[in-house]
Amino acid sequence: MSLLSTLARLQAVRSGVAQPLATVRHRHLSERPFVLVPLAAAGETGAPLAVLLGQDRQHPRLLTVPQPLDRDLRFAFLARVGDELLPYLESFGGDVELLERSVKDPESGEKTVEVRELCADAPQLVVPNPGGVELLGLFGRSTRFRRTAEDPDPGPYPAPARVPLLGRWLTHVSDRANVPGSSMLLPLTTTLARHWATGQSSLEDAHLGALLAWISPPEGGRGEEAALRAENGRDERGQLLVPPAGPATDPDFDSLLLAPAITRYDAARAAQDERLTQARAEEIDALLGAVLLPVWHQVWQGLDLLRTLPPGAHVADRWESDRWSYTGHRDRVAAGEPPQPLHDDAVTAARRLAQREREQVRVDLEEALDDPLAMAEHRLAGQAFAGEVVEVQPAYDTSGRSPKPRPLVTVRTEDRPHLDPGGEAHRAGGPASQKAQLVELDAEAGLLTLRLLNGMGRKKEPEPGTVPEPGEQVCFTLFELAPRQSAPLPDPEDTPWTHGGPPK
């Protein structure tokens, strides 16, 4: 944690309510998100217990597995999840933009125009927390390789037809959630915690109820008490007042309510009493619905809170990356490519790591450019400075054939950048990738004189607007303002001997 966010937490402790960590919203929010609140069956890896899902805040759909040990019931559940979710996921595939780019033929060197499709929008799934992301990933892992009755060799336990397809989509969105800055699958707690600092630790922020208690405490109440009630307030039956946001259920709920209900259900099934079995299943539905519904409302409340912030200027650009990712997966599915493998080969792993690192740098940069509070982190760390221009002196580089503008700009700042004369700085909010060099430093007076090095056009005099004016507020960073390109990697079939050769 940085000193700045620590300070925000300290202020939250004092005021009893969470404090802003951002002045804009750094994640894309869809007009029509799809919310899922999944629950896992305790003790069984990746086994579903229930989910509340849908796009309609007022009318969520409840799906449950009355006996989580029953493989058929599990797959029937996942098939129903697919029935709800796949139409939503696929609904974005039809509306496309056509983008042209010129490509060079590697053989002939000729340039040709290539037209590519980019889906105009992409799905957005919202789950309460990272545990929900992980569980969706496990559902994907356990289903994408399943064979169905339609396979030439369906095997002993064929899964319902669309289950493997659901698995591939869930794998895709949960992988995508690991890409920094992506909004295709949003865990709500992490997203909220990016925008607000509570008066508790980040470990406690992982509890959705406690986190919301700090961000919007009840009228006249303090976050601390509201959070405590959310964490462990219990009713007279010993059940939590605010049920956990999953994917794990409260052990006391399991032992006191759920386990007996499942036992009754099993008994009814064993007696082959269909009507009773149905009734018992409905009891389980009622139990699970009751612990899921409060979380469902919390998730929408969290989305409302996020919507109170205006989107950051670069959010749409990052969402475009999500749209590309969606389009790519749509195409792979359409092309009949096999499901994502269990493990990345060496080249794919390196590519994905490079992508994540690039996106991490990008999101950090873009957030700093979009949000003065994010830039403040860098200023406090001595990696950026902001202030007012007090003087601009025209100057020229006459070493070449024609003189080039190299004006000297003096900035007054209270910041203390770790920059020595000769060091480079990059102008934020000026012409794209404008660089400057520190010429003179008066630390006492807070005056830095910088020579602008580029971004002023090709003429002797700078293009209008490329050089800041006296009185103008400027901001410079010590780091570059665009992520570096990643180096090319070999094709997987050319994996070198150092990395075990081509995958078998």
Binding site: M1, T23, G199, Q200, D252, P372, E414
Partner: protein
Amino acid sequence: MNHSTHPRVDQPLTPLEARLTALRGGAAARSMDARALAALAANPGCDRRAVLDAAGVDKAALAARLGSPAAFGQSPFAITRGLVFERRLRAERCTELAALLRRELLPEEAAQLPVAVPDLLAAEGPAVRAARTRTALVEAVSDAAAGRAWTLLDRPLLRLEVAGSAVSLEPDAIVIGPDERWTVVEIKSFPILDGGADPAKVGAAARQAAVYVLALRATAMALDPAATTTAGNAAGAGATPHAATASSASGADEAGRSEQGPSAPASDVVSARPAGLPVSPYAEPAGLAAAVRTTGLLVCPRDFSNAAVAAPLDLRKQLAVTRRQLARMTRIETLLAVLPEGARLDEAPGAVDSLAHAYAPDCLAACELAFHCRSQARAAGAVEVLGRGVRGELGSLTTVEAALAATAAGGALARAARLREEALAR
């Protein structure tokens, strides 16, 4: 998966033990098991926890009495699942477990060697069981040496002396291979999915297995016919020159008497009193104790199934950690001094507050008293409630008040406050 508790050996209480028993108010001690010993590493800076654990106080019950019940608990479904998995492995004299271990631990040329699964008298008391385990180990070694069989010890019982008290430890299994090396086997119910598992859970399993390695080394040392004064060095917990002198006498003594078997209950406790710090934390013992491998074997359900899969665990780091945590147990006496004489936590749970706590949010996942300590830390305005890392940012400012006051005093916090204000004003 060690749920068992054992009464301690009947012998006169030491003054320390008497004091700790009184603290519990006569309630039966929650026996120190490997899980509890492994948990010593979770917050070693906490005096409160050190004393409560040493006294065998039921922290969950104490937390409830203090009005801040713990948020721990295991779902009955998870417990059942774990039991089913273990039962299957152990069914019919461990047929499935033995097959798995044969594949994992035996070289190809020994693939046909029969396995011995001796009866370890699981229904008997700890003293009998510990003695039986020792004889079984001796038999296993001679079977291996003669090329007759390799041995799977199913739930053996080991004793380890920790800070003056005997602790019974029950590893899931121990294998004595045809190479005469001993391997600790740890069975867990979390899955190994595509070759990976939850790192926090694997870490906890490794620390627990390390406790068994230390106990097994101590046992081996006592069994070692060639145990000399240097063999004292072999007891895992005392692998230091100082410890060698401190424990060698008793070590040799135990070795001499251990043949008396169950009739000499006091002698089945192998002294492993730690002292000072190891010269090399990774030093391997000499003699028979060297037969204990520092690589354990983790057995878990595979992927989404109930089938078992095994993975090796390098325990060398955890051995070093556990050894030093055991060495610190000796400071309990000093810590106890702050409690009023005759303090009983069952009658006056508040007495626990005179023991210093070291609350950090990590406690929430590791200690039953967390809500109680958190409320104390909050009431005191301690900055730790915001996270361990926060202290590092704030240096000498240990309270929220002091830190907020410092925003008006210049320095980094004041600059941070100015930057925040400036950004939020826009």
